[in-house]
């Protein structure tokens, strides 16, 4: 779509192809392009630049979501402690994201507690313990093979006892197809609610930006099992665009809270719908 060029059918096809290559999905890409096609037919869209702007607005509208004013790093805390559970499939960046979010709250002068809820994977507790040390947070952990819900329960108690402002709960990576593991995380969330009514205040699905159409299935399954309040989109410093979040916003109304842009503590930003949409068509 070049600035002044007329928007013809081949330009619209190029646009649709670009969206598909950003993992937006066949169905949603077609719907977004249809918006432009209608705009052209109605004479509201005259050239490539106005088509591009219409697309950016359409995407922005979708991912902004109904609750963009909701919880994020500068929003008022609930609790105390304000409890956030991080969930998702294997290797997406849950543990690293917890470190980044914890660092942000620490920078605000908050007392942060981390719960080592991944009681299964080799080195998982050690990994979180390194991060806890680096950000100046306490960590609650148990021995090898411990029960994940038991760690979560202990962590809420410890957070209350120590006057923590924020409790970040790590969980093991799990594929949504594993019934027993989905039952386990359901129990973790339930137990947290028993230990502190109203908690967890946020339940974030961590999604890897390189994930394809399976990301929508992940979001659906985790949402129906534990009730998500938002998403974290990681590894956006890579070449993948994470277009699956547009479908997720559209189908499930879940907003992206943060984006991960690297492996360091500073590499986290609150999600900005406008810049995300611009980057898609940049």
């Amino acid at each position: 779509l070049l600035g002044e060029a007329r928007v013809d059918e081949s330009a619209l096809e190029d646009l649709e192809d670009r969206l598909i290559q950003a993992d937006v999905g066949v169905r949603t890409s077609a719907e977004l392009v249809e918006i432009v096609r209608l705009g052209v037919a109605r004479g509201e869209i005259e050239n490539g630049e106005s088509a591009r702007r219409a697309m950016v607005r359409a995407v922005e509208g979708l991912v902004k979501g109904s609750s963009s004013a909701g919880a994020h790093i500068d929003a008022p805390l609930q609790g105390p402690p304000h409890v956030i559970v991080f969930a998702g499939v294997n290797g997406v960046g849950k543990t690293t994201t917890i470190a980044k979010v914890g660092a942000r709250y620490r920078a605000q002068g908050r007392r942060v507690l981390l719960a080592a809820g991944d009681t299964f994977r080799a080195g998982a507790v050690d990994q979180l313990a390194v991060w806890a040390e680096r950000i100046g947070a306490d960590i609650v952990k148990q021995g090898a093979g411990a029960d994940s819900a038991s760690v979560a329960f202990d962590a809420v108690q410890a957070a209350r006892a120590r006057g923590a402002d924020v409790l970040l709960v790590d969980t093991a990576g799990r594929l949504h197809t594993k019934t027993n593991l989905m039952e386990e995380i359901k129990k973790v969330v339930r137990v947290i609610g028993k230990a502190l009514p109203g908690a967890p205040h946020e339940v974030l699905l961590v999604l890897d930006a390189t994930t394809g159409q399976n990301g929508l299935v992940q979001a659906r399954e985790f949402h129906s099992t534990i009730g998500l309040t938002g998403l974290v989109l990681t590894k956006l410093d890579g070449t993948a665009k994470g277009g699956i979040v547009i479908q997720i916003a559209r189908d499930l109304g879940l907003p992206v809270r943060y984006v991960g842009t690297g492996e360091g503590l500073d590499d986290l930003e609150p999600f900005d719908a406008a810049s995300y949409a611009e980057a898609l068509f940049g």
Partner: protein
Amino acid sequence: MREIRTALLEADVNFHVVKEFTEAAKARAVGQEVLGSLTPGQAVVKIVHEEMVRILGGATVRLALAPNPPTVVMMVGLQGSGKTTTAAKIARQFVADGRRVSLVAADTQRPAAIDQLAVLAGQAGCAFYGTTPGDDPVRVAEEGVRRGSTQLADVVIVDTAGRLQIDEPLMDELGRMRETLRPKEILFVADGMTGQEAVNVARRFDERIGLTGIVLTKMDGDARGGAALSIRAVTGKPIVYIGTGEKLDGIEPFHPERIASRILG
């Protein structure tokens, strides 16, 4: 063909690979007798399936040992794809075959990565070499192979840190490691649920350091696995293993027929 194109895109096969693939399949369908008992629609699906199996690699490939020990295997790929776990899974398989194996922790950057591999080496029943975080990964890898050699290891598997294909300094580091180790195998470990970007990532890794094989992980989920076709089509390298679980027994040889059926849904 329209429906097949949509099905492949929804299965995460790369856009450009879908184009080439459907054109090739169409050409074969047009150039071929419509097979006796099948309807034209069924014939197309059959040809598409056969074409996909052909591209995916036809038959099952096995990792072979080098003529002079130790066989050095390097694991590479994006962050979180499953390299460390896969390294240990492969180690366990060779141990079961009666081989002496050593796992080398050349990821000196990720918190507790060395500990993670040490624990997994214990589970796999093989030797382990690791130093301390912050050490030079190429030095660690080199020393790990040297020790494996003196300890008469048959196989030395080197785990590396995840990295972006666009991270030039880290890709250079991988290039230096390759030049230093002269590995028999460089395995690209890719997440089975990777979407469209699988092609760009794999191509860049292959161009920059030369891959010898592919491992597709987390295929115990319900991702369709179109990345398999994308990566195979763009690199031409064989898919050697499929990761099918979090435990060390969660690894299988690659069966093109099964993956083709899965991608086609």
